[in-house]
């Protein structure tokens, strides 16, 4: 417990933790402020009047054009309309039907000319919370890999092992401390973001219906998101432990996210395998967070225009992602256990 507390304190006291903490809080504030100012409960009287005027003008224009079409029986016989002679069914339409088809449906309303956005917390809040939690998780992954990598590169690991020679215990405590910090930060971010978005929705948007069903579904999704960020943290720490440097962990993660995933997708398509998206980690992450994902394979020879569907559920996604994280963590454990510390 002493080692765990010391490790927690060491992570928290790092300068990078302070910088990352400020960045994460800043991200939450930016999203909340942008939401607050971009949302409104409805148009003002003057904006509504202006939009109504625009709608009226458009309707008047429509009616003029429509009346012109209706008045001229030979409207569709002039130059440019020769093709109607060959169009089956056109001949059977009445003049009214032809004119409505040509001019379009009448009835513009003021709403068509209003450009207002109303933030609905119950509808959009969860997606924003998931996004913010994943950003916080990425930051925590970097922080965890940095905490391990910096200890290797600074020689601190050697010092620590002189004090605590049980390597499995040291590694376990480091992982636990990183995960504890990650969980605290991500849950803190979610609480802060929910509070600020609630204020934004209450003041300038719609809170919507936050009933028991909403809470149940939201908490499940956010719970899986928090679990995902914990997995990311363990992965970051494991890569840093394997590479003994923060940059190696960061490089592997960034390399996969930027290039690796694209290469895997391209390879899947090149091999003409069904559902190539299933090779992408993003697919499985989405399935895990959302609870399920449907993949469509249009390459299948369904002449009726339908596609084969593959459904990935949260359980399957959780097993795969968990296996990836566990694999790296076990590899890091084995290597650390046997490695000479220079």
């Amino acid at each position: 417990m002493n080692l765990f507390k010391a490790e927690l304190r060491r992570i928290v006291r790092r300068r990078l933790s302070l910088i990352f903490g400020i960045l994460v809080v800043a991200a939450v504030l930016v999203v909340s402020v942008v939401t607050f100012f971009s949302s409104s409960k409805g148009p003002t009287e003057s904006a509504l009047a202006e939009a109504q005027a625009q709608a009226d003008a458009m309707n008047a224009e429509y009616h003029g054009e429509y009346a012109e079409c209706m008045a001229d029986e030979a409207f569709f016989e002039g130059p440019g309309w020769e093709w109607t002679a060959e169009e089956p069914g056109f001949e059977e339409l009445t003049q009214q039907e032809r004119c409505e088809w040509y001019v379009g449906s009448p009835g513009y309303t003021a709403e068509d000319f209003l450009w207002s956005y109303t933030f609905d917390l119950s509808e959009e809040g969860v997606v924003m919370l998931i996004g913010l939690a994943i950003v916080a998780g990425l930051v925590m992954m970097l922080l965890a890999s940095s905490a391990i990598g910096a200890e290797w590169s600074s020689g601190g690991m050697s010092n620590l092992l002189v004090w605590h020679p049980n390597r499995l215990r040291v590694w376990g405590v480091k992982l636990a401390a990183s995960c504890a910090v990650c969980a605290a930060v991500v849950i803190g971010v979610l609480a802060l973001a929910f509070g600020l978005l609630f204020v934004a929705a209450a003041a300038r948007g719609e809170v919507g219906t936050l009933d028991a069903a909403w809470w149940e579904e939201t908490l499940q999704v956010l719970g899986r998101t928090v679990a995902l960020t914990l997995g990311m943290t363990v992965l970051g720490a494991s890569l840093a432990m394997l590479g003994r440097h923060t940059a190696i962990a960061g490089g592997v993660i960034a390399g996969y996210l930027i290039v690796g995933d694209m290469l895997v997708r391209v390879a899947g398509m090149a091999l003409r395998m069904p559902f190539p998206d299933r090779l992408s980690l993003y697919t499985w992450v989405t399935a895990w967070v959302n609870g399920r994902i449907e993949l469509y394979d249009w390459s299948a020879s369904n002449f009726d225009g339908t596609a084969d569907i593959m459904v990935i559920k949260a359980t399957e996604a959780g097993l795969l992602l968990g296996a990836v994280v566990l694999g790296f963590a076990l590899l890091a454990t084995l290597v650390f256990r046997r490695r000479d510390v220079g």
Binding site: A150, S158, N159, V162
Partner: protein
């Protein structure tokens, strides 16, 4: 009292791609008795740091046995580590942490009281610089911080790799007094690896010299020096013309040799100084000066390790003397043992 550290036949080989494997430790033996300051010496690359790292469980060895406080390590290291304070090689710390925070984190991790941090900061002379971040520390200050962290646990065994590295003369003096006080007043066993031989000579009670991963010699510092001093005598005469005649008189005795070195005669193999004066007087030759060639630790070290520089040449790493394969240690470490080197 059993030795605090017992190492026998320690082996460590680094396998290298496309190159011959490097035997960093080649059957090394080491014994350190309780309550002494023990110097651990050897040329660069002789295996000192590797030995200390192996003792502390930082590297795996390929053979041999190690015991600290009678417990086999690294298997039982967690049981004895609370009694060991160590600094291995150049001390490294998080640069943005202050000296105090660095120590507090270590103390907290081992459940030590915070008051202990201030005590060791005072002990190593870092009280005033405790709040400064390590980035602003000089090499000597970092060294002091490293020693402070080794002292935190109030260890019964202190292992210090180059503790005087970077210290100013006052710091070296302070460190020497501190280590001797710990050993002689507090009963702490101190193992010091160092290249500052004059410092080792002043500081240590006993020492072990290693070369190429094997022990060459161990024992009390005074005994080792004595064992390699006094074997030659410098004799001067009022008249340099007496030199050939004196040499002839002395070498008449079996086992004694005498070489003329400028205006003096260097005699080796003589039973004792009095025998020289007596023999020369009997031959009617009267000397003006007779001195025992006293060697310092540096010259003994260079002789034993075969790393004495030659004019116009540089001793390369790994060119030290190759001791014969290690033999089991029979005598306690306070007795002088010389392996592979003629005494």
């Amino acid at each position: 009292m059993p030795p605090i550290i017992e190492i026998s036949g320690l082996r460590k080989t680094y396998k290298r791609a496309f190159r011959q494997p490097h035997h960093a430790l080649d059957g090394l033996d080491l014994e350190v008795a309780a309550g002494q300051v023990h110097g651990f010496l050897g040329p660069n690359g002789s295996g000192k740091t590797t030995t200390l790292r192996a003792l502390l469980g930082l590297i795996r060895v390929d053979g041999g046995t190690m015991r600290i406080f009678g417990e086999a390590v690294p298997q039982l290291l967690p049981q004895v580590v609370s009694r060991i304070g160590a600094v291995v090689e150049s001390p490294q710390f998080f640069k943005h942490f202050s000296g105090r925070l660095t120590l507090q984190l270590l103390a907290e991790s081992a459940g030590l009281p915070r008051t202990r941090v201030d005590e060791v900061l005072e002990q190593v002379g870092l009280r005033e610089a405790a709040k400064v971040s390590v980035r602003g520390y000089s090499l000597g200050m970092r060294q002091r911080l490293a020693v402070a962290q080794a002292l935190l646990k109030q260890p019964r065994l202190l292992i210090l790799d180059e503790p005087a590295n970077g210290l100013d003369p006052a710091g070296i003096h302070h460190m020497r007094e501190l280590l001797q006080w710990l050993a002689h007043s507090q009963g702490v066993t101190v193992v010091v690896s160092s290249h500052l031989l004059s410092e080792v000579q002043q500081l240590c009670d006993a020492m072990t010299i290693v070369s190429r991963g094997r022990r060459i010699v161990d024992g009390k510092v005074a005994d080792i020096l004595a064992g390699h001093s006094g074997t030659s005598l410098s004799v001067r005469f009022p008249d340099a013309a007496s030199l050939p005649e004196a040499a002839l008189a002395l070498t008449a005795e079996e086992g004694v040799s005498a070489a003329i070195d400028r205006e003096r005669l260097v005699v080796t193999g003589a039973p004792e100084a009095a025998w020289v004066t007596h023999t020369l007087a009997d031959a009617g030759i009267y000397l003006s000066e007779l001195t025992t060639e006293t060697k310092n630790l540096e010259s003994v070290f260079l002789e034993l390790t075969g790393t004495a520089p030659t004019p116009g040449g540089t001793v390369q790493i790994g060119q030290s003397v190759v001791p014969p394969a290690a033999v089991p240690v029979g005598d306690p470490p306070v007795d002088v043992q010389v392996e592979g080197v003629e005494r």
